[in-house]
């Protein structure tokens, strides 16, 4: 009788990191559909292109680091990064922009830090922040949603989109582009929010962005239901952003947009359910996640209202990634049988 010797536990929940990642990918589907519906084929093409690049970079890195390639490729984490980058970039982002972003995310932000589980920053957000700073023109050329375009017009067709992404920018393409609502709001000049709402065609058609946000929200709820992450970080982020924008809106409605606007445009929903819930780079304990989420909410509002950039998810997330280990030290849960939770890095020697 050859019996194996092994220590407990002897049973294991049939779930793997690959499954977790697959669920995250599944949860992006509503968002992808909404994006494609409103902004055309660009999103899908970007996803495919980014995924191809991500898997290639991942394979090269893993091979260079002398690890089993297929074992690491199968964990789907590179695909998740690729999806998030593709969803965050403008749908007509040129091919090289996506390539740079994916390279930065996979090679620099992930593998140079030690690979899966070791990266202190969210790779997608590192990449996004880098290309946002380096290529502002390309990054602000957002596609106009079809609802904005005049009668008889439609979003660019598949071939046109391919041409735009891989062939190069032509002036005709300007017809497809528009600023984002956050851009409009940020660069409204001396107008009050009320006047901006009336003057801007983009803001008049903000419903497209609302729809996309709603799709992301659905995906997020699905993941929450699947217990892929806990409610703590998203709720804290959305809650704090809502509270702080409400306060300012109530005090000066002319200068600050309403909280609903903050929650439903830009990267808020994508960030709340797909970015800040990245477990690797966020705080670990439940209380820590709440602190983490609140921090991001406050920073997002701050940068959107008074910063140079119209959106702020990437910067806020990266700043709080930095703070996560610190937050962890002060948010240890109270262990069973202990009167109170321990604080700080070390036992006080008294």
């Amino acid at each position: 009788m050859s019996l194996i010797r092994i220590t407990s536990p002897h049973v294991h929940k049939p779930a793997s990191t690959a499954d977790v990642m697959r669920l995250v990918l599944l949860a992006t589907i509503p968002g992808v559909i909404a994006m494609t519906f409103f902004f055309g084929w660009g999103t899908l093409i970007n996803i495919a292109w980014a995924s191809l690049l991500a898997l290639t970079f991942e394979a090269v890195c893993v091979k260079t680091r002398a690890r089993p390639v297929s074992f690491y490729l199968k964990d789907n984490s590179a695909l998740v990064t690729a999806f998030l980058i593709a969803l965050a970039l403008p749908p007509f982002a040129p091919w090289w922009l996506t390539a740079v972003a994916v390279f930065v995310a996979i090679v620099i932000a992930k593998h140079l830090y030690g690979g899966m589980g070791q990266n202190p920053f969210n790779p997608a957000m590192v990449a996004y922040a880098l290309v946002l700073i380096s290529f502002p023109v390309e990054m602000t050329r957002w596609t106009a949603p079809f609802v904005m375009l005049g009668e008889g017009w439609n979003v660019a067709g598949f071939n046109d989109t391919l041409q735009l992404i891989f062939g190069g920018w032509s002036n005709t393409a300007d017809a497809f582009t528009a600023a984002t609502p956050l851009d409009e709001m940020r660069h409204r000049g001396g107008l009050t929010t009320e006047e901006a709402w009336r003057a801007s065609a983009v803001l008049a058609n903000v419903g497209a962005w609302h729809a996309v946000s709603a799709a992301y929200f659905m995906g997020g709820i699905f993941l929450l239901y699947k217990k892929i992450f806990t409610w703590h970080a998203p709720a804290a982020f959305l809650g704090s952003l809502a509270v702080i924008s409400t306060l300012f809106y109530l005090v000066a409605p002319d200068s600050y947009p309403d909280p609903f606007f903050h929650l439903t445009v830009g990267g808020t929903m994508l960030g709340a359910f797909f970015i800040i819930t990245d477990p690797v780079s966020s705080a670990t304990s439940n209380r820590g996640k709440i602190v983490f989420g609140i921090g991001i909410g406050v920073l997002v509002f701050t940068i959107r209202s008074w910063g140079n950039y119209p959106d702020a998810i990437a910067f806020s997330v990266l700043l709080l990634n930095l703070a996560a280990p610190f937050i962890d030290q002060y948010t240890q849960p109270r262990t069973y049988g202990h009167k109170q939770a321990k604080r700080g890095a070390k036992e006080k020697t008294s």
Partner: protein
């Protein structure tokens, strides 16, 4: 009651319980051989009572509980002991342990066991002892001796008795089936526990997946006089963990590092309750238990009542396990059980389940992926830890941080590893970190102890050095005083030293009393279990040190006194001389032997040398023996023996005390006996000391006449020794032996001793017969007196200079001046007399002194030269002759000089 609280985390693994509950509990076949480990519980292994070849009866105790936390072991059936040896036992590390192997005889002959007709008639301790004798240990898994828990009512207020019927681990149904079929026994067991602990209420905590058992229990408890509640808790692993169940049923948490009794709760397993019932009402010791045999490889999964010691193979066969499908044998549940790889491992008191799993059922764990800090482990941790943080810390060996994150509150339930999507063996990491920390702490304790010991040693050495110095100073002062007094008034000396001795004795007695007090206090504290034992212990040790010191001071003072009264021949030096002579002889012999071997020419010379040396050694030995017998005054051996006796008694006492301390620490039973022994030894030590003291004082107050006689004998003997030694020396010199120097030194010493003895004799004679000793003999003493007088005078003068009007001081100075002058005069007169004496013989003393010094220097020079030469092997003989000449010259001069000094 009935409210269910919640505990954090928990998981819902597939239950897999249905398979083994379809058939009632079967009686397992009795195997041919039972292997009964003597330790099936937490604590000290039981002590084997039987020998190989003994016939044992069913229920007969074969190993007795030893120490407080231990459980006895009984023969599961009748048969013959065929072996007592190390056998593989159910253990996570696959260890072997001492087992009694019994060949069964199928008779099932019971030993004479009787239940209690009325257990309430017994006193509580008697009843608990009765249960202890039945070898009952916790049946839930840990195997903690039950009697210890039943004692908890003595020093804790027990509000709640929790009966753990949760059985939360998947697969296991032993408790479930027990409740279904033998609920009456469980309830009777609870009654007994209730009687012993007197809790306010009793709660049976049971998971809601055991509907049948709940129904049976409810039926059983209908109309029961005791306040017993059944609380159904939701099925969630690990709700059957003691701490988790307590939280579920009471909302109270057991403090970290504490036990449930600290919050007024005692937990017992249902199986334990049934076992108590069997023991108390039927007198049946714990010799069998219910074991679940299940798993996909078992074709007839079911529960068996199996005798302790039954090999698992027997049960697997009974459950029709498919050996080909079997891939993993898990002892216990799938979450916390351990694998065994040997079917001959026996059932023990804690074996509740054996899972015969197929490879599909429990596949090997997939390779671990990187931790993505998903936090699923944190969500399920029932101890509310941060498992992934602990994992990182354990992985990077940041043990301090792991400890800070409460690693030791981890109950190793395995929930975190169960949910980990990266399949990281988290529990193994925690076990590793825990054992590393424990090792580290043990190392630290060891190092700390070593450091303390080292420091104590240094302190002791320093203390000894100081004491030695003090003794030396005291001796020097005493000598100076004695000499001064001898010069001034020789009669008053003994009285003062005796006074001092008395003082010392009093001090020693006081120290001993203190020591005893400290001892008593310490013993009392230990008996009462007071908090300040450590402090008392310290005080006791200090008192002991003080006492030892005082005793040492007393002993040294006494020795000093004896020395002062009877300047015996220095046997030590003689001994050294004898030893040296012997060594030389041996060397010479060796040289001779090697020479003989090599066939050298100077054999004859060497032989002569050896012969001479032999003689010399004999002579030295003789001298030593004579000196020995000379020194041994009649009273001395007695005191010596007594001293030794006292020391021996003290040593014994100390040993016994330390043994007692150890025993008390470990809470051993024989502490009282030891304490008695210590008291006896103390008394003995005290008597021995007293006898010694008495002898000492008796010997020191011997009659002066006797002393004179003794001294006379000493002198005679010393003279004889001296003469012999001198003869030997002459012989040695004649033969030019290299040992001459040493011999001469010995002779010189003997001479000195002889002179000392004469002086002592004269002093005693003088003190008894003629108080005024001859002044010329004490030139040195005179010199000292003069210097003392000078110092006194100078002091007085100084005082006078500061207070010129003080008439008394002026008088004093005048008086001192006078006495100083007198002393000086006496000294000068003595010196003059000496010089005169020398001059009378035509010798200039001063010149003589210088000559002697020069001669000595010459000797040293030549000696050095010889040494060098012997290294270079040239002109040796010549130099040696020269040396002998120089030595003779020096000796002559020395002799002459000593005559005048």
């Amino acid at each position: 009651m009935g409210k269910v609280f919640a505990f954090h985390g928990g998981i819902h693994p597939p239950e897999n319980k249905k398979q083994s509950t379809r058939t009632p509990i079967a009686i397992a076949p009795i195997p041919e051989v039972l292997t009964v480990p003597i330790q099936q519980h937490i604590g000290i292994p039981a002590k084997v009572l039987v020998n190989v070849g003994d016939q044992v009866l069913k229920g007969q105790m074969i190993a007795a509980a030893e120490g407080r936390i231990s459980a006895s072991v009984h023969a599961p059936t009748s048969g013959k002991v065929v072996d007592i040896s190390m056998q593989p036992v159910p253990h996570a590390s696959g260890l072997s342990a001492q087992c009694v192997v019994i060949e069964t005889d199928d008779q099932e002959q019971w030993s004479d066991t009787q239940g209690l007709a009325d257990y309430t008639a017994l006193s509580k301790p008697e009843l608990i002892d009765f249960i202890r004798d039945k070898g009952i240990a916790g049946m839930g898994g840990a195997g903690f001796p039950t009697d210890v828990k039943l004692h908890l009512g003595d020093d804790h207020i027990v509000n709640t008795l929790i009966i753990n019927a949760a059985e939360c681990e998947p697969y296991i149904t032993a408790d479930d089936m027990l409740m279904r079929e033998r609920a009456d026994r469980i309830v009777r067991g609870i009654e007994v526990i209730h009687h012993l602990l007197k809790p306010h209420h009793v709660v049976i905590g049971i998971e809601d997946n055991k509907a049948h058992a709940i129904r049976v229990l409810e039926e059983q408890l209908k109309g029961h006089p005791l306040n017993i509640d059944i609380v159904v808790v939701p099925t969630k692993y690990p709700s059957g963990g003691e701490k988790q169940l307590i939280k579920l049923l009471t909302g109270v948490e057991v403090p970290s590092g504490g036990i449930p009794a600290d919050v007024g709760i005692v937990c017992q397993n249902v199986g334990t309750a049934a076992a108590i019932s069997d023991a108390v009402f039927d007198g049946k010791p714990l010799i069998s238990r219910i074991v679940t045999i299940t798993g996909d490889a078992a074709r007839k999964p079911q529960n068996f009542e199996a005798l302790i010691g039954t090999p698992f193979d027997t049960l697997l066969e009974a459950a029709d396990v498919d050996r080909n499908a079997l891939s993993r044998l898990v002892c216990g549940g799938p979450m916390m059980g351990f694998t065994i790889n040997d079917g001959s491992i026996p059932v023990i008191k804690t074996s509740n389940c054996v899972i015969a799993a197929t490879a599909d059922e429990m596949p090997p764990a997939p390779p671990a992926q990187a931790c993505i800090r998903c936090g699923m482990c944190e969500q399920v941790c029932p101890a509310e830890l941060l498992p992934q943080q602990l994992h990182w810390f354990a992985k990077s060996r940041e043990l301090d941080k792991a400890k800070h994150h409460n690693l030791f509150d981890c109950i190793e339930c395995g929930a975190c590893a169960y949910v980990c999507p990266s399949s990281i063996p988290l529990v193994q990491y925690y076990r590793f970190a825990k054992s590393e920390i424990r090792n580290e702490e043990a190392e630290q304790r060891k190092a700390e102890l070593a450091k303390q010991r080292f420091e104590a040693r240094l302190a002791r050495q320093e203390q000894e050095k100081l004491e030695k110095e003090a003794r030396r100073k005291a001796r020097a002062a005493d000598a100076a005083k004695a000499q001064a007094q001898k010069a001034a008034a020789p009669v008053s000396q003994p009285a003062s030293s005796e006074d001092e001795l008395k003082k010392l004795k009093t001090a020693a007695a006081v120290a001993r009393t203190k020591l005893k007090k400290a001892q008593t206090a310490l013993d009392k504290a230990k008996a009462d279990g007071g908090d300040d034992i450590a402090q008392l212990d310290l005080q006791f040790q200090q008192a002991q040190q003080a006492s030892d010191k005082a005793a040492a001071a007393l002993a040294s003072a006494e020795a000093g006194q004896t020395d002062a009264v009877k300047p015996a021949v220095d046997t030590k030096q003689l001994k050294t001389a004898a030893a040296v002579a012997r060594t030389k002889l041996k060397k010479a012999e060796k040289a001779l032997a090697s020479a003989e071997e090599k066939g050298q020419d100077d054999l004859d010379a060497l032989r002569a040398t050896v012969k001479e040396l032999t003689q010399k050694a004999d002579a030295a030995q003789q001298a030593l023996e004579q000196a020995d017998s000379g020194t041994s005054a009649p009273a001395v051996p007695d005191t010596k023996q007594l001293k030794t006796a006292a020391a021996v008694a003290r040593t014994k006492l100390k040993k016994a005390q330390s043994a007692l301390a150890l025993a008390q620490e470990q809470g051993a039973d024989n502490a009282d006996e030891l304490a008695k022994t210590v008291a006896e030894l103390e008394a003995k030590a005290a008597t021995a000391q007293a006898a010694f003291d008495a002898a000492e004082s008796g010997s020191s107050s011997a009659q002066p006449q006797d002393k004179t006689a003794d001294l006379q004998a000493d002198v005679d003997k010393a003279k004889q020794t001296l003469e012999k030694a001198q003869k030997a020396l002459t012989a040695a010199q004649a033969s030019g032996s290299p040992a001459v120097d040493k011999m001469r030194a010995g002779v010189e010493k003997l001479e000195k001793k002889y002179q000392d003895a004469v002086t002592a004799l004269q002093a005693v004679k003088g003190s008894t017969e003629k108080p005024a000793a001859e002044p010329e003999l004490d030139l040195k003493a005179l010199k000292q007196t003069v210097s003392i007088m000078r110092t006194k005078l100078k002091k007085a003068e100084k005082a006078l200079a500061e207070a010129p009007d003080d008439a008394a001081l002026a008088d004093e100075v005048a008086r001192l001046t006078q006495s100083h002058d007198e002393a000086k005069q006496a000294f000068e007169a003595g010196e003059a007399k000496q010089i005169e004496q020398a001059a009378a013989q035509g010798v200039d003393l001063k010149q003589l002194k210088i000559d002697a010094a020069m001669a000595r220097a010459a000797v040293t020079k030549i000696e050095r030269a010889i040494k060098k030469a012997s290294e270079q092997d040239s002109d040796l003989r010549e130099l040696e002759t020269e040396l002998v000449g120089a030595q003779q010259h020096a000796d002559k001069l020395n002799t002459t000089l000593s005559q005048f000094e």
